[in-house]
């Protein structure tokens, strides 16, 4: 994709403090964009969920130097987010199942999933790809893609791509 404007391109360790710095930058940069406020908030919202997903689920492999990464770009008719991190191979199947389930839903289906998930008791710490992914799907009109690339017997790189259409 040529001609895209890069707003954020970060690769490195991510702790809570890092998320504050990255998201503040995104927020400030989006302020200057001449788009509807609701769209700025939508992009920011999805960035937060992506960054927090990384924070919650990132695995560390001492044998590789693969850090989490997050990229936000603006194209002609869309904003584009790419987020990647290592996950343990034994978590891939469950995450893939959840993502497939989410991506097969229409708007009404997503709303039902959101309802079920938000009304579940005591799932905050084990949220997994729960409310965050559903929120991303709802806000992006389900324009999400993902991939899992195994790097060794223990770990894979999980990449999530989200497109947020610019409405006029």
């Amino acid at each position: 994709m040529t001609g895209n404007q890069t707003i954020l391109n970060y690769k490195g360790p991510i702790e809570f403090k890092t998320t504050e710095i990255l998201l503040q930058k995104v927020k400030n940069d989006l302020e200057a964009h001449t788009i509807k406020k609701v769209l700025k908030k939508r992009v920011y919202n999805i960035m937060v969920e992506c960054v927090e997903n990384i924070l919650r689920h990132k695995a560390g492999d001492p044998d590789t130097a693969i850090h989490p990464y997050i990229v936000l770009e603006k194209g002609v008719g869309e904003y584009f987010i790419t987020a990647g991190n290592l996950i343990a191979n034994n978590e891939v199947a469950l995450l893939k199942e959840k993502l497939t389930d989410v991506s097969n839903q229409n708007r009404e289906g997503l709303r039902k999933m959101y309802d079920n998930q938000i009304n579940k008791e005591n799932t905050i710490d084990t949220d997994g790809a729960g409310l965050g992914i559903i929120t991303i799907a709802m806000k992006s009109d389900n324009k999400i893609n993902y991939s899992f690339n195994p790097i060794n017997e223990q770990f894979s790189v999980f990449e999530l791509q989200v497109s947020i259409p610019i409405e006029t």
Partner: protein, 133 residues
């Protein structure tokens, strides 16, 4: 009724529940590092409010009107905000004088929609207040 006053940070909202000035407002951005710890203050305060209603002999002169004035909240916070709304809805259903005013910036239809969803799930009618920018 107790007072609850929490200053905002870059990742957590300002909370002011002040019975003396009759201001009950939560405002700003919510994505705290530990949402369950942050929202425990609010949920504990609601328990105290429930006790206050149980103990008070005379009805309140003015209803307790909660102003939700969020700029943004993340999905984890949403879960706790819904828990708070549900609790307020239960008290309201018991006839306690409680109201919720859900503020949203004009053109932020997402914030309006999430308010409507919260209201539906909490079984409690909110008043929606558009903020002109």
């Amino acid at each position: 009724m107790k007072e609850l006053n929490i200053e905002s940070t870059s990742t957590s909202p300002k909370v002011l529940f002040d019975p003396n000035s009759n201001i009950f407002e939560i405002s700003g951005e919510s994505r705290p590092e530990n949402a369950s710890v942050f929202y425990k203050h609010i949920l504990d305060w609601v328990k105290d409010l429930e006790q206050f209603f149980t103990d008070s002999k005379e009805p309140l002169k003015t209803p307790v009107e909660f102003n939700f004035n969020f700029e943004y909240f993340n999905s984890t916070s949403a879960k706790f905000i819904l828990g708070f709304c549900k609790k307020l809805g239960q008290l309201h259903a018991q006839g306690k004088p409680i109201a919720v005013r859900w503020h949203y910036e004009e053109d932020d239809e997402d914030m309006l929609e999430v308010g409507r969803e919260m209201s539906r799930m909490a079984k409690f009618d909110f008043e929606y207040v558009e903020i002109k920018i």
